[in-house]
């Protein structure tokens, strides 16, 4: 497809930094050069329009240039993060015909060739993509994007997007802040951040690790303005008092999403970083990223929608209809109803046009017919001194159907039964009976997965 809106930026912002890695800073001119290299490279390897192509990479100048080249060539792109263990299976599900493996350590394709060392390794898989949705995109001559939805059970679902539609919104002029890469670009949030930054001449800063310490160090060093992140990451910043060790006052905005934010955590954060705007984001692999507007920095109420999006709430559950919604899943039935509405499975509360996400309907714990949202309980647990983090979930119970259980992160001094007693009393004061955790498990290690999101 025509990517003039990006190529113009590559020309106009020549001198600006596009990507800053721990080793090197790359200007937009560098990216432009790499884009040309990559286009040549695609020609040499016969990667044509409509080919389903995997990119196994983390953020790097090469990966970004390759992504742009594949968009320009109308390929169907399957970004695969290097940290994934099941990448082979994902490549199979997506029917990848070829895979690029980007090695972040090496400079350019041309240099790498000279050194006899491939910055970008390429191999064909022998697969001929035959899925009718893939062929449909190919016939229309538009680029595609396959993202995997992070289901906790069963096989990941491959959501196929028409990239020409998804990219439409980046053509609108806007400003871009100096942004730290946090969510990988195989995630709708990460992809959105990357494309927004690149199409508006902004800078992406990458870190060697996604651990809070490394990220905070980079924020201070590079004077980062925008941190797109998860509530779990922010909780870890609070726990380790990283805001005392690193100057985070350069942050103009912190956006958080992908999971529920405990109200208590948000209040603490906005008090610690009074000059930073906190904004909740909302997006799903299936429909893309919606525009949001938080009521204020310390509030979980937000307006959700924006151009090309319609929302409705049916029995407390949020439904979305989007122009840029995915074409469909490659390996699952269509989740859209006849009118094109998508059930987000997010329960919401409404107030004067604002929404508050209560949690996934699937996370809801049914205690003898009463509904309990883990986030509410977690927020109460976090108020007790000594509680560093908490994860609340349902446990089967022969009498109540389910009861509430809590895994609580504590310092070694508090790892004892007296502390459980204190937790019980605290919940007794603040929660209705059916909401109180029946069982507490104390732990001294963190409660999240590799994407810094709580395991549910």
């Amino acid at each position: 497809m025509n990517i003039d809106f990006i190529e113009n930026i590559l020309e106009d912002c020549k001198e600006n930094h596009a990507v800053i890695t721990p080793e090197k800073a790359y200007t937009y001119e560098d990216i432009n050069q790499k884009l040309k290299d990559c286009l040549r490279y695609l020609d040499e390897h016969g990667v044509d329009a409509g080919s389903v192509t995997g990119i196994s990479a983390d953020y790097s100048a090469e990966a970004i240039a390759l992504l742009l080249a594949l968009i320009k060539r109308d390929c169907i792109i399957v970004p695969i993060s290097k940290t994934l263990r099941n990448s082979e299976r994902l490549i199979e599900i997506a029917q990848c015909e070829s895979v690029f493996d980007c090695d972040t350590a090496i400079e350019t394709v041309a240099e790498a060739k000279e050194n006899g060392n491939a910055a970008i390794r390429f191999h064909t898989t022998g697969v001929k993509a035959g899925h009718k949705m893939l062929l449909g995109l190919k016939n229309r001559g538009v680029p595609g994007l396959i993202l995997f939805s992070s289901g906790t059970t069963g096989e990941p679902k491959a959501a196929l997007h028409d990239l020409s539609r998804l990219l439409e919104k980046f053509k609108r002029p806007g400003k871009s802040l100096k942004t730290i890469s946090f969510l990988l670009f195989d995630h709708i949030g990460g992809f959105n951040t990357l494309l927004h930054t690149i199409s508006h001449g902004g800078t992406i800063v990458t870190t060697p690790s996604r651990m809070p310490e490394a990220v905070c160090a980079a924020i201070e060093k590079e004077k980062i303005e925008l941190l797109p992140t998860t509530p779990t990451f922010l909780t870890m910043v609070l726990l380790n008092k990283l805001y005392e060790r690193y100057d985070l006052s350069c942050l103009k905005m912190i956006t958080y999403g992908t999971e529920s934010m405990p109200e208590h955590t948000l209040k603490l954060l906005s008090a610690i970083l009074p000059h930073t705007t906190f904004k909740q984001t909302y997006g799903l692999s299936e429909v893309g990223i919606l525009s949001t507007k938080s009521e204020d920095s310390g509030s979980l109420w937000m307006k959700v929608g924006g151009e090309g999006y319609e929302t409705k709430v049916v029995s407390e559950v949020l439904f979305i209809r989007a122009e840029s919604a995915m074409t469909g899943y490659l390996n699952a039935p269509s989740p859209f109803d006849e009118e094109g509405w998508f059930d987000t499975k997010d329960r919401v509360e409404r107030k004067d046009g604002y929404l508050k996400i209560l949690g996934r309907t699937t996370d809801l714990i049914n205690v003898g017919g009463e509904k309990v949202y883990p986030i509410e309980i977690e927020s109460v647990l976090l108020q007790l001194d000594g509680v560093l983090d908490a994860r609340v979930y349902g446990e089967k119970n022969p009498i109540m159907g389910n009861t509430v259980a809590a895994e609580v992160l504590v310092a070694p001094d508090n790892n004892n039964t007296d502390f459980i007693k204190a937790l019980r009393n605290h919940c007794g004061e603040h929660l209705e009976k059916f909401k109180r955790p029946v069982r507490f498990f104390l732990t001294e290690s963190i409660l999240c997965g590799e994407r810094l999101k709580k395991k549910r």
């Binding site: 205690v367 003898g368 119970n397 022969p398 009498i399 109540m400 009861t403 039964t417 459980i420 007693k421 019980r424 009393n425 919940c427 007794g428 004061e429 009976k433 059916f434 109180r436 029946v438 069982r439």
Partner: protein
Amino acid sequence: MKETVEELIQEAILELNEQMEEDRKVSYSEDLKLIGVNAALESISFVTLIAILEDLISDRLGKNIIIVNDRAFSQERSPFRSVGSLAEYVTGLLLETE
């Protein structure tokens, strides 16, 4: 053993009482009816009491037992009908693990 279990049940009831409203607090007696019609406890409080008791047993006696299991339901007379029958039932479970 039964005496130890009775003491632990007593302690569990005290701990449960700490999170109960004044008029809902229960006092320990062997005849105290735990579950069913006219029981002293609502089912969620009963479930919580059992969880507290299991924690106490694990903490003091080093034994991890599950009190509310299929067997408890298949008995002709519910072991949860009173504090006395609960003590007997739990003592039985503990002796089996020895």
